[in-house]
Homo-oligomer: 394 residues x 2
Amino acid sequence: MTNPIFAAIAPPLRVLMGPGPSDVHPRVLEAFARPTVGHLDPYYLQVMGELQQMLRQVFRTDNPMTLAISGTGSAGMEATVVNLIEPGDRMVVGVNGVFGGRMAEVATRAGAEVTRIEKPWGEVFSAAEVAEAVEKVRPKVVGIVMAETSTGAWQPIEEISRIVHDAGALLLVDAVTSLGGVPVEVDAWQIDAIYSGTQKCLSCPPGLSPVSFGPRAMEAMQRRKHKVQSWYLDISLLASYWGEERVYHHTAPINMTYALHEALRMVLEEGLEASFARHLRNHEGLRAGLQALGIDFTAAEGNRLPMLNAVKIPDGVDDARLRKDLLNLFGIEIGAGLGVFKGKVWRIGLMGHASRTRNVLLFLAALEQLLESQGRPSVGGASIAAANAVFAQA
Amino acid sequence: MTNPIFAAIAPPLRVLMGPGPSDVHPRVLEAFARPTVGHLDPYYLQVMGELQQMLRQVFRTDNPMTLAISGTGSAGMEATVVNLIEPGDRMVVGVNGVFGGRMAEVATRAGAEVTRIEKPWGEVFSAAEVAEAVEKVRPKVVGIVMAETSTGAWQPIEEISRIVHDAGALLLVDAVTSLGGVPVEVDAWQIDAIYSGTQKCLSCPPGLSPVSFGPRAMEAMQRRKHKVQSWYLDISLLASYWGEERVYHHTAPINMTYALHEALRMVLEEGLEASFARHLRNHEGLRAGLQALGIDFTAAEGNRLPMLNAVKIPDGVDDARLRKDLLNLFGIEIGAGLGVFKGKVWRIGLMGHASRTRNVLLFLAALEQLLESQGRPSVGGASIAAANAVFAQA
């Protein structure tokens, strides 16, 4: 065995405009570095309680069972699925991108009889399509992705929720990318279980997954005949640690919790409505600029997420080279296409702290330069002019 | 809904002498606060590679499949169990404390037919006891806790490993509390799968779980007939992200990885042997001091962990009051007893950065004062004198 000791961590300074992680404000980074205390320290218990109260505000819910799972967004997906599903339960999952497919896979592994309803990538489900499946399958749970990070499609939830509940089923929503950037109304829309991530519009590094369970989901969990297959993600056990009993379950990720606490403080200081408006405005500026470059979105107008702009790579452009140049020459990270969109789509994130006018302008200016460097005709700053025209109206 | 915005994170300064988290060096806290990059950024991929190389050194293994699970130690426990176990597989688990019991529970939820072999808390298993169970059950996997954090018992592994392998079974070891503080020889002892935590002798805040899988475990995983029940913890998927393909699985906890990288650098700078010697020396100083106070260990001599000192609370002492006074008057956290040891045992951690002579002396001095405040006769500084006598010899 060799014995290398490597250099200390010294990351390059990026502008994180991919599908997450998004840019992190220095205040959040500083919170990370606060002294560690024990997971049963009175101070930490106070922080947990505050975190829950702030998460409830962001989710717009009074659900007592609102907490952060000690893992990333995919752990939150797994936590919600395995707590709601018992072997043999029927579940309908909407699959119109990578993350719907992932939810179906997680549910299958949990023993669910999964019915996938599918739409082309970039499209969303109509209420009628969900109604048809629910009527046919009579599922226990319907799972749907509100913000499909692989396609940029924005799935409306409210009408689907009524259909799901009329059929006596539970609604599980993936809000990993949407939370904090567009309205997510857990109580008003009667979402039964929901999960999110920290590294998107909350602008906190990845590592925790905010989740919330409503009263119908809690009842279903109390009626379970089998234990949850995951001990680590078992909400009935986590409830005793996050609840008043404070029974030790696992050692919580203390400093990660500090960071999310500060990130939530910043979201609430700005105000959710102001955050939504900012995400929308910067999206519109970006869209105008991209239009001037002849670049189109994958999702139809009216269903485009403001924080995740999935756009078609123009013909003849070398995808890998352009993203590499963006990173190396400008420090800008954007996302590659996933799955069937690989090599065909860029995913431009304007999430949380990264959703700033200056990032839109920098990105468009860099993109103009790099497209020219690949032989595309110059548009002479037209993308900047178009974006600035939008920002001037705002 | 109310709209409270809470004060910024400002933790009290603790001396973390409980069962973990242990004290964290400022260098590790500072690493946390380095700028976030993307989970597919070339720089982050380099950090992952370095992390793996450092973990291999600490585990003393050449296992390619050595990585950090994106969850705490209990997630590592679950990851190793669910990847090795398929429904109906037989598993023998040694239960002599909370964490053996937890492993049996996790394995049961994974569909294993679990045979628990039990010993009183504080005792360890003899090779003969394991041999008897293995012969009778013919299990696929034998799980054993090397450092039982609930009792302070130090389980020898090497001879058990031979017995397990002679019977054609796989050995799974819980090294959450042992790694970095006492020798953990994955290759020399032929451990097939092992998991640890970051918040014990590695002195990094909780949030990741180092794991390693040897060649026999890899073969068993390749022969699986069923998918791993957890998508999040499926090693076959994680392998494609940590391996050369770099296929996106989940968004890695970037800054948590920075912190572990720095913590491992510090462990390797000191050197493992030096770390083991330091843990042993401080344990011996503490033991001498406690002896002078008439306080005894729960584990028999010869099987006491140096980093986790589980001791019997003297008769007539108010457990809760003493721990509260330690915390509020001196900032010292020690651990309460778990399970059958609740109210009967203290768990005094001397782990990683917290294993320092000055902490031993401060703790003994504070304990003398607080025992006197509860009406116990003064020993007149005898615990300090006894500890100093040990330190003088070292």
